[in-house]
């Protein structure tokens, strides 16, 4: 078991290293990267200042080495626009994004499992078709458009929900106001992963139902409800944990758009600001940190899965 954990840990480390390489070289070798700043309209001194600040007179590989050494120590450079440390800007925004995604996972997993199970049990019947059809529609609607329509309906027309912001925090925190701010972003973000969870649960459930031991349970005369909810569901849900790992990058991608629509001050709206103002160190830092979050959560999901599923546990 320890070997499995160490092995997975090593893989994650290699992955993380490759991610930093990909982003760093993409940013620094592309024609519009930091080196293009030098070509812009600027006086000789200004240009020199930028070159010194970014170390542009060094070869790119040396700069990567320096960046990596600093990054390991928690220093991701300073933001172009505000001159604050990048890590500080990210850390002030990251909690909001994590908040949003955690709520979304809770909501979409619980709803997704319910619909997935219904769809599997009623396979080929009307309920199954309706759920299937709705899933495809959910995958096809642009979330930013649906978000706009939601704002039009629930904020402008009906005045039920606030159209943007994260709500008052700190001393003014109020649970109801907080939840009201959370509803629309969570619903919109859920849309991006819900169809996958439904489909995955459905196929997992169908696979379990076709197993021999389920036939045995049926043969010994157990009631259908007992067969489905006691024997089948428990085993069908185990693989569903793995899809959470797969969906986390999707959720974070979706969070960028959701945060932009609802003025949610998380890391997604930060990267849009950073991209708009060409704040390279910040763009780089955000991408690295967000991928770090993905890799760590995937690692956790795998470890949890290996603990729950005895088959993986024993092989490992």
């Amino acid at each position: 078991m320890l070997r499995y954990i160490l092995n997975r840990f090593g893989q994650s480390l290699v992955l993380m290293l490759m991610v930093t390489m990909i982003t760093f070289f993409l940013i620094n070798l592309a024609p519009g990267g930091p080196s293009s700043v030098v070509r812009m309209e600027a006086s000789q001194e200004e240009r020199q200042a930028i070159i010194d600040r970014l170390g542009l007179d060094q070869p790119v590989i040396v700069r990567y080495g320096e960046w990596l050494v600093n990054a390991v120590q928690g220093d991701l450079g300073t933001s172009f626009n505000t001159s604050e440390p990048v890590i500080q800007r990210i850390m002030s925004r990251l909690p909001y994004t994590i908040e949003l995604t955690v709520f979304t996972i809770l909501v979409s997993v619980s709803i997704g499992i319910i619909f997935g199970v219904i769809s599997a049990i009623k396979r080929g019947k009307a309920q199954d078709h309706v759920i299937n059809f709705t899933s495809v529609i959910g995958l096809s609607i642009p979330s930013f458009w649906l978000g706009l329509m939601f704002i039009l309906l629930f904020s402008v027309e009906l005045r039920w929900l606030p159209s943007s912001g994260v709500g008052p925090r700190g001393a003014d925190f109020e649970l109801m106001t907080y939840l009201r701010h959370l509803i629309m972003p969570v619903v919109i973000l859920s849309m991006t992963v819900l169809p996958n969870i439904v489909r995955f649960t459905r196929s997992s459930m169908l696979e379990v139902i076709s197993q021999n031991y389920i036939r045995t349970v049926r043969a010994k005369g157990a009631k259908e409800a007992v067969v489905l909810y006691i024997h089948a569901l428990r085993n069908a849900l185990i693989p569903v944990i793995t899809i959470i790992g797969v969906l986390i990058p999707r959720l974070l991608s979706g969070a960028v758009i959701t945060e932009a629509i609802f003025g949610w001050t998380g890391i997604g709206s930060l990267i849009i600001e950073a991209a708009n103002s060409r704040d390279y160190p910040l763009v780089m830092g955000i991408t690295v940190i967000i991928t770090f979050v993905v890799i760590v959560s995937n690692l956790l999901v795998d470890l949890i899965y290996s603990q729950i599923d005895p088959r993986v546990k024993n092989v490992a």
Binding site: A30, P31, R250
Partner: protein
């Protein structure tokens, strides 16, 4: 006896190895939803690409009907905030959006196929490097990668295509990798090797054609994704810039007039949804058509 054995061999090896050519089309015809989606897509593409040739207004021309005119025979969707014909703008915007989706899909299939096929076919160190690279790319949440790449590559339509393709090839690479691993063990591939064909020829001539159906399915679903991504970045103002219309930036522009002229905001969003929906139905249908479980029926 020999004949029976060879027949059995035929059934076991040759049949799955060489799927009959008509499966795609017949499979598609059997699936009513997918077939409907296909016909619908052909129609929409005709309207969007050929329509402007017959339409009396262009996308940039200001008409005499004034701004925010409601619908009429002259302007079926009315006019926009500075009096341009919305129907014309939707058609031109659709051209760009669909073309970007199509090109991004093709480019991304190319990258994914080359990487996946090389990794699966050559194995060893090539496989290790290419597949680790693919995994690393998959770990970066795709929209973050898109934003990073757009920041440094710019927002011209060509770059938007490149960026979307660069951020979406991994799923294709994984599919092609898995399929290549499977097909390279077959006898006809071995036969080609022993007949003296060079490795690259074996890969391109014997393995890729077997993988092609899966690539087509991925491609169909990929277009849907590419269109959604393009419109999302245009909506955020980081994609193709006005005055070049796309469905995404038409929607962004319409946002300020949502209250006075909701149709301006509803139309591009509805167009994106319907097109993406049709591609998704088509992709799902094609996948079912390829699935051996469905073919047997």
């Amino acid at each position: 006896m020999e004949k029976i054995v060879s027949q059995q061999l035929d059934e076991q090896v040759v049949k799955p190895a060489r799927p009959p050519k008509y499966t795609f089309w017949t499979g598609l015809r059997q699936n009513k939803v997918a077939f409907g989606a296909f016909i619908f897509l052909v129609l929409i593409h005709l309207i969007v690409f050929i329509g402007p040739l017959f339409w009396s207004y262009s996308a940039s021309e200001m008409t005499t009907s004034g701004p925010l005119a409601s619908w009429s025979w002259q302007h079926p969707f009315g006019t926009d905030d500075i009096g341009r014909d919305v129907f014309a703008r939707m058609m031109y915007g659709g051209r760009i959006t669909l073309l970007v989706g199509l090109c991004a899909m093709l480019f991304s299939l190319l990258i994914g196929t080359v990487i996946g096929a090389c990794a699966g076919f050559f194995g060893k160190i090539t496989e290790a490097i290419l597949m680790r690279f693919t995994e690393a790319m998959m770990a970066i949440p795709n929209f973050f990668f898109v934003l990073v790449a757009l920041t440094v590559l710019g927002t011209t339509p060509v770059m938007v295509v490149v960026v979307i393709a660069l951020s979406g090839w991994m799923e294709v690479a994984r599919v092609v990798y898995g399929e290549t691993l499977r097909w390279k063990e077959y006898e006809f591939v071995e036969a080609a090797h022993s007949a003296g064909a060079k490795p690259l020829r074996v890969l391109v001539k014997y393995i890729i054609p077997q993988v092609l159906p899966s690539i087509i399915v991925s491609g169909t679903l990929m277009i849907a994704w590419a269109i959604l991504t393009e419109s999302a970045i245009s909506y955020l103002g980081l994609g193709i810039q006005p005055p070049t219309p796309t469905w995404g930036n038409l929607l962004q522009n319409a946002q300020q007039y949502l209250w006075t002229a909701p149709v301006l905001g509803v139309l591009p969003g509805a167009a994106i949804t319907i097109i993406v929906l049709a591609y998704n139905f088509l992709g799902d249908g094609l996948r079912d058509a390829l699935d051996p479980k469905f073919i047997k029926k």
